[in-house]
Amino acid sequence: MAITESSGERRALRDPDVRLMLEVRAGNAAAFEELMLRYQNRVVTVLEHLVGSRDLAEDLAQEVFLRVYRSRQSYHPDAKFSTWLFTIVNNVASNALRTKRRRREITVGGGQSTGGESLDAMAAAPSGQMPARQLDKAEMREIIRVALGSLNERQRLAVLLCKFEEMSYAEIAEAMDLSPQAIKSLLARARVNLRQLLEPYLQHGQLPAAGRKAGDDRPGDAEGPPGPPATPPSPPT
């Protein structure tokens, strides 16, 4: 056991970010700033796709870096630094999403619907009321963003860590406190869901001609929930 731990530590020490974090632990403020500069965009990117709001993502990223600093004395270099960091991201995001869900429940209970973005709603946006037309890059990007937002939180985080952070299943499992087998299943389900949601657009590269639903939010609403859309994507006609 001791041999495994020390070899794990040796492996981790090859990671330059682990060495920076050890300097942070020793009280080096410049090392903390360097770590922040290396990771701030990556953390905000993952958080923004998780919570669906840039402002909230930045607030949560600040919370993440504050936790990194406060945890410096208990930090042990037994994994890659990014794995440890995204464990904190997962915890902070989970708390925020739980709070957000509770608030939404209260609002919905009060008779108001926050409304979610949906691929149908996007397809039915004013420009989409015309007959089928080619999607431009921005529209396609928005459709992909909404499709990602329609996954559940765990699938979404696993996809983001796999795609953006290029983390292995074992690293994602550690960051999300799940088994590698659970991550394998989670990612497979997420990929199948994404395929079902996006394939119609991919095949035809066109938005469907559909009527806009009353009350649907416009895409790009900064505070809009990234949760499942109210309506499914309509395949292009």
Partner: protein, 172 residues
């Protein structure tokens, strides 16, 4: 006409084949498993089609925007951390006098215990010069009288009889 989107949690899970194909695309299979997948897709058009579709939709995610924060974010985060560091330092400083007092008391107690132990050890093991004087006191008190006796053998006989063991003041 739109219908409700089924919740992801209640959807049919991925098939074992889809799981294998996704793990293959993610580079999570060992050499033997990868070769098995490659052989499968080379002879099974349906498996090949599934693999290609999964790969195409996965590549679509490359179009997702990456966030870039401004200097303001970096600056305000570092300020937050600086404030947290100052709070920590203040709390530690507030705890320090108590820690010093506790260390001082511990040191003092240690010194007292060491002194007591030293005294007891010396008392137990070191020879006491007064003890000899006390033992010889009966002789010393009447030394002039004993000097008048010339015969040392007689004195030894008296000593054997226990005359010199009498406590001072014990008469007869």
């Amino acid at each position: 006409m739109s219908r409700e989107l089924p919740s992801i949690e209640t959807e049919t899970p991925a098939t074992p084949l889809e799981e294998r194909l996704v793990a293959y695309l993610d580079g999570e299979l060992d050499a033997q498993e990868s070769q098995a997948v490659e052989e499968l897709v080379s002879r099974d058009p349906q498996a090949r089609e599934t693999l290609e579709r999964l790969e195409r939709t996965w590549h679509l995610l490359d179009a997702l925007p990456r966030s870039e924060v401004g200097d303001q974010f970096t600056q305000s985060t570092l300020e937050m951390v600086t404030v947290a560091a100052e709070d920590e330092a203040r709390q530690q400083a507030a705890r320090r006098p108590w820690r010093h007092a506790r260390q001082w008391l511990l040191g003092l107690s240690g010194a007292v215990v060491a002194a007591l132990a030293g005294y007891l050890a010396v008392a137990a093991w070191a020879p006491d010069p007064n003890r000899t004087l006390l033992e010889d006191l009966p002789v010393i008190e009447d030394l002039d009288e004993y000097r008048q006796i010339d015969d040392i053998e007689f004195l030894r006989l008296l000593h054997k009889e226990g005359l010199f063991l009498q406590e001072p003041g014990d008469e007869g």
